[in-house]
C-alpha cells in the first residue's frame, strides 16, 4: 500500500507544474504545433532543402579547391575538412532551427510584451524562452550534416578507435550546448536594454569555426580556445575523431561547457529578476 502511494506521489511530482518534465512537455507541444504549421508550407520545405543543399555545396568549395592544389592545410586533408564542415553545418542548423526562431526574437518580444506572457507561464523560463518553437524549414540541414559526416569519416580512413567516436560525440554535444549558450549570452541583456543587440558576435564566432582554429596561428588559436571557446564548437570534435589532439581535450570540453552553462543560468536568472516589462 505504502509502496503504491509512494509511486503515485513520485509520479505526481514528476509531472508537477513547473518541474523540468512539465517544462519539456510544454516545449514538445510547441514543437508539435510548429511542425503542424509547417505542414501547410510543404513546398517551402522542399525549396528550403534545395537551398540548404546548394549552401552546403558552396561551403564545401573552399576545402575542395584547396585540396586541388595541395595535400591539405596544416595536416587537414579533404575528409578531415569535410568532417569539420559537417559539424559546422550541424551547428548552423542549430542556429536556424533553435537559436534564431527563439532567442533571436527576444528583442521583439520585449517590445511587444509577448515575453511577459512567456515569463508568466509556470515553466522553466530559460528553457521555454530558448526552445519554445522550431525553425522547421531548416530541419533537413541536420540530415545533410549527418550524411556528410558519415561520408567524410568513411573516406578519411575511419576514426582512430571506437573510443575516438564516443569522445567526438561527447565533444559534439558540448559544441551544440555551447552554441545555444552563446546565443543566450549575446541576447539576454535585451531583457533590460531593449535595443541591445550583440548577435553579430554569435555570427562572427560561428563563422570563425568554419575552418580549423589552428590555421589562425598560435595566438589566435589560444584565444579562440580558452577565451572565446570557438574551437570546441567544431575543431575539437573533428580533432578528437581523427586523433589529432589529446583525449584530455574531451574533459576540457565538458568542463568548459559546464562552466558556460552555469554562467548562462546565473546571468539569465539575474536578468529576469531585473526585468520589468517594456510593452509599448
Amino acid at each position: 500500500m505504502s509502496a503504491q502511494t509512494d509511486a503515485v506521489t513520485r509520479d505526481h511530482e514528476r509531472t508537477q507544474v513547473g518541474s523540468l518534465r512539465h517544462t519539456l512537455t510544454v516545449v514538445w507541444c510547441g514543437w508539435r504545433a510548429a511542425l503542424s504549421g509547417a505542414a501547410e508550407y510543404r513546398g517551402d520545405l522542399v525549396t528550403g532543402t534545395l537551398v540548404s543543399l546548394v549552401w552546403l555545396g558552396v561551403s564545401a568549395v573552399p576545402s575542395i579547391v584547396v585540396t586541388l592544389h595541395t595535400d591539405g592545410a596544416g595536416g587537414w586533408t579533404l575528409p578531415r575538412l569535410m568532417y569539420l564542415l559537417a559539424i559546422w553545418y550541424l551547428m548552423d542548423a542549430v542556429m536556424w532551427i533553435v537559436i534564431m526562431p527563439n532567442i533571436g526574437q527576444w528583442g521583439r518580444q520585449v517590445q511587444t510584451g509577448a515575453l511577459d506572457a512567456v515569463l508568466l507561464r509556470p515553466v522553466r523560463s530559460l528553457i521555454m524562452c530558448s526552445f519554445g518553437t522550431l525553425g522547421v524549414q531548416d530541419l533537413p540541414k541536420v540530415l545533410l550534416a549527418l550524411g556528410l559526416a558519415v561520408g567524410a569519416v568513411v573516406t578519411g580512413g575511419g576514426p582512430t578507435s571506437p573510443a575516438a567516436v564516443v569522445a567526438s560525440m561527447i565533444c559534439l554535444v558540448c559544441g551544440l550546448v555551447l552554441m545555444w549558450a552563446a546565443g543566450v549570452l549575446t541576447s539576454y541583456k535585451v531583457l533590460t536594454q531593449v535595443q541591445f543587440d550583440a548577435s553579430f558576435l554569435l555570427h562572427a564566432g560561428h563563422n570563425l569555426a568554419r575552418v580549423p582554429t589552428p590555421l589562425y596561428g598560435r595566438t589566435i588559436q589560444v584565444l579562440l580556445t580558452w577565451v572565446v571557446p570557438v574551437s570546441f564548437v567544431a575543431t575539437v570534435p573533428a580533432q578528437v575523431m581523427f586523433g589529432m589532439t589529446s583525449l584530455w581535450m574531451v574533459a576540457a570540453a565538458v568542463l568548459v561547457t559546464a562552466a558556460v552553462v552555469l554562467l548562462v543560468v546565473v546571468l539569465w536568472n539575474r536578468e529576469v529578476r531585473r526585468y520589468s516589462g517594456a510593452m509599448s
Binding site: V54, P62, S63, V65, L68, T70, F200, R210, V211, L215
Partner: protein, 286 residues
C-alpha cells in the same frame, strides 16, 4: 493732395520648381537627398553600425584556410602574403556590398504593401533600399579603414604599392558594386511572384561567394572557370579589386570599360524585368 503709395504685402505665388522629374540629374539629386536623410537617421546608431562591422568575418576564415595551405610555398602562383592581402581587401568589398539591403529591403516592401505608396513617388523604389544600405556603409567604412591595413601589416600581407593600382581597384569596386546591385534588384523582383522567397533570393550570395572570388581567388578554380569568371559583375565587385591590390595577375583599365558595359546591359535588362514584375504586383500586403 496725392496719397503716398502704400506698400502692400501681396501674397506671392510660390515659384514652381520646373526641374524635370526624370533624367540622370534628377535621379542623382533624389539619391543624394535620400542618402543624406538615411545617414541622419542612422547617426543615432553609428556606434552599433561601426561595431557591427566586426560581425562579418567569413573572408578572414578563408584567409586562414589559404594561408595554412600556402605555408610550404605558393599555391597556384599565389604566395601567403598575397592571400593575406587578397582576403583583407575582400573583407572590405563584401562589407560594402549593397546586395542584401536591396534584395531584402525591396522584398519586404513588396510583401507588406509599402511598395504601393513608393510607386506614387517620382523616382524608382529600388533607390530607397540602396540608399539605406549605402548610409550604413558610410559608418562601417571608417572601421574597415583601420582594421584592414592592420590585418595586412600584422599578417605580413603584400601589396603592389602602386597608386595607379589603388585607383583602378577603387573605380572597379564602385562600378562592380553598381553592376552587382542591378543583379540584386533583379533577384529582389522574385518577391512579386513568390510569397516566401528569401531562401531562393539568398542564393545570389552563394553565387557571389564562388563566382565573385570570396572563397578563393578565381584563378585557382579548375578548368576554364578562371577565364570565364573574370568577365562578370560579381567578380568586379568582390575579387577583382583584391587581386589588383595584392598584385595577382595583370589588370588593365579595360576592366573599367567592361564594368561600364555590364552596367548598361544590366540596366536595360532590369527595366524589362521591373515592368513584368509590376504587372504581378497585387498592391496589398501579404
Amino acid at each position: 493732395m496725392t496719397a503716398a503709395p502704400v506698400a502692400h504685402d501681396e501674397p506671392v505665388a510660390p515659384r514652381l520648381d520646373r526641374t524635370p522629374v526624370r533624367g540622370a540629374r534628377y535621379v542623382a539629386r533624389v539619391a543624394g537627398a535620400l542618402l543624406r536623410s538615411e545617414m541622419q537617421a542612422r547617426a543615432a546608431y553609428r556606434a552599433q553600425l561601426a561595431i557591427g562591422a566586426f560581425g562579418w568575418v567569413v573572408p578572414l576564415a578563408f584567409m586562414a584556410l589559404w594561408r595554412g595551405a600556402s605555408d610550404d610555398g605558393a599555391v597556384g602562383g599565389v604566395t601567403q602574403a598575397q592571400f593575406t592581402t587578397y582576403f583583407a581587401i575582400v573583407l572590405v568589398t563584401t562589407s560594402l556590398s549593397l546586395g542584401g539591403g536591396i534584395i531584402f529591403g525591396l522584398s519586404g516592401r513588396v510583401h507588406d504593401g509599402r511598395l504601393s505608396a513608393m510607386l506614387l513617388r517620382p523616382y524608382h523604389p529600388v533607390i530607397v533600399p540602396a540608399a539605406e544600405e549605402l548610409a550604413g556603409n558610410v559608418y562601417r567604412l571608417p572601421m574597415l579603414l583601420v582594421v584592414v591595413p592592420t590585418i595586412i601589416i600584422a599578417a605580413d600581407g603584400q601589396t603592389t604599392g602602386k597608386p595607379g593600382d589603388v585607383a583602378l581597384a577603387v573605380v572597379v569596386t564602385v562600378l562592380g558594386v553598381a553592376a552587382s546591385s542591378y543583379l540584386s534588384a533583379m533577384v529582389a523582383t522574385i518577391a512579386f511572384w513568390m510569397t516566401k522567397a528569401h531562401g531562393v533570393q539568398g542564393l545570389l550570395f552563394g553565387a557571389e561567394w564562388v563566382l565573385g572570388g570570396m572563397i578563393s581567388p578565381i584563378a585557382l578554380l579548375p578548368g576554364a572557370l578562371p577565364a570565364i569568371l573574370a568577365h562578370q559583375p560579381l567578380w568586379y565587385a568582390c575579387g577583382a579589386p583584391a587581386e589588383i591590390i595584392a598584385g595577382m595577375g595583370e589588370h588593365s583599365w579595360w576592366l573599367v570599360a567592361e564594368c561600364a558595359a555590364w552596367i548598361v546591359v544590366l540596366h536595360l535588362i532590369f527595366r524589362q524585368v521591373w515592368r513584368r514584375a509590376l504587372r504581378k504586383h497585387e498592391a496589398v500586403g501579404t
